[in-house]
């Protein structure tokens, strides 16, 4: 039985201000590094010792992955397909500036997810590359796969594996350093077993 853990990176300064990062490479903040360490300590007890670790190339995800690798003693593979959705012109600006400058596009974004602005990577493209990467790495893994990625791309990938349509949000975005756990069934379908787990809501008793 193949298990897949999908982990979102720890917090950055931009996350704390509600600014979209997308393809921008923003490092973990001090709080984010602490989250990554705590998540790694918890995940170390949950995943198989020979789990495969793979990460988005963006440093906020990769540094979160390195924390778990340090605890498990393995390496971190890098796969560009696990990068965050590109937000084009919206990267690096505040939510207020976004609403002021692009009121119609923000409304369309909330309505169906596609604002139609320059450089914004659409749902179908993000889902396709995420599903392809997660399927490929999980089939190659000798035991569990732990994938370190981002809020929006994690949601697209998880909904893609579960066969959920992208017309609604349906699954909430993972918080910083939170994770989901999925299991692949014999018939190739996937089952969501955990979603939004953090150190604070993890039962560690008998």
């Amino acid at each position: 039985m193949s298990r897949l853990f999908i982990v979102r990176h720890g917090e950055t300064e931009w996350n704390a201000r509600g600014v979209l990062q997308g393809a921008s490479d923003v490092p973990l903040s001090k709080a984010g590094r602490e989250q990554a360490t705590q998540a790694a300590q918890a995940l170390q007890t949950l995943v198989a010792p020979d789990a495969t670790l793979v990460s988005s190339p963006l440093s906020r995800a990769h540094d979160t992955a390195l924390e778990l690798a340090r605890h498990l003693g393995g390496e971190v593979h890098v796969d560009d397909r696990l990068r965050e959705r590109a937000y084009g012109e919206w990267e690096g600006i505040t939510p207020e500036a976004r609403l002021e400058g692009w009121p119609d596009a923000v409304a369309a974004w909330h309505e169906h997810g596609d604002p139609g602005i320059a450089g914004f990577e659409g749902h179908d493209d993000v889902r396709a590359r995420m599903v392809e990467s997660l399927e490929q790495w999980s089939r190659a893994a000798v035991s569990d796969l732990v994938a370190f990625t981002h809020g929006s791309s994690a949601r697209m990938g998880t909904m893609g594996l579960l066969g959920l349509p992208l017309t609604h949000r349906t699954l909430g975005n993972l918080g910083n350093a939170a994770w989901s756990r999925l299991r692949r069934n014999d018939d190739g379908t996937w089952t969501l077993e955990r979603h939004q787990v953090t150190v604070a809501t993890l039962w560690t008793g008998p």
Binding site: G172, N185, H195, W203
Partner: protein
């Protein structure tokens, strides 16, 4: 921020022995209450104190709900629509006994299908009943905790997400763990969290 928290009752001695309870009323023991207390503290920290609590009438659920009610200082409202499904003639038997005596029907159950046994509550009926209850109890101003059982949580969530009850996309919430859903402006439901308070 409002939410509906679907909380599965803490484990009973029958759960530990892997015995199917269904609508049989098995009480919570001391270990179960300790487990409920741990979860209740976390739920109250996130959503309390201004939350409503509803519970299945079975004592393993009302006793779990009472632990949270004691922390936030409110009452528990029993709602029969949050009851466990009936397992029919399988109730009171262990999983191993069921597998030995009804191998074919047990396999159907494992595949996500209804076993063809007397008294079994079908998955579509359970899904519809629970989803309608969540819709009815949703209050955009105040969070509510619904203390219920394993099958009602998974089946109710599938119906809210507009997914057939036979789908394998959603697992089971372990004992004393919870799921969180929210209704958005379009009327669609978002699954924010699933099986928190577990391993």
């Amino acid at each position: 921020m409002s939410a509906i928290i679907l909380w599965r009752h803490a484990p009973t001695a029958s759960n530990v022995a892997d015995r199917l309870q269904g609508t049989l009323d098995i009480p919570l023991d001391e270990a179960g209450r300790a487990r409920a207390s741990w979860a209740a503290t976390r739920i109250a920290d996130t959503y309390g104190p201004d939350l409503r609590i509803y519970s299945s009438p079975l004592s393993r659920a009302t006793a779990t709900a009472a632990v949270l009610a004691g922390i936030v200082g409110t009452e528990v409202t029993e709602d029969a629509n949050l009851n466990q499904r009936s397992y029919g003639v399988w109730q009171g038997l262990t999983r191993d006994e069921v597998r030995a005596r009804w191998p074919e029907e047990y396999e159907r159950r494992e595949q996500g299908l209804d076993p063809r046994i007397p008294g079994w509550d079908g998955q579509d009926a359970v899904a519809t009943r629970v989803a309608a209850t969540v819709e009815r109890l949703w209050d955009p101003e105040r969070p509510s905790v619904l203390v219920t059982h394993g099958s009602p949580i998974t089946l109710g969530l599938l119906a809210l997400m507009d997914v057939p009850a036979s789908s394998r996309m959603l697992g089971r919430v372990p004992h004393a763990a919870w799921a969180v859903v929210k209704k958005v402006e379009s009327g669609a439901w978002h699954l924010e969290a699933f099986a928190l308070g577990a391993d």
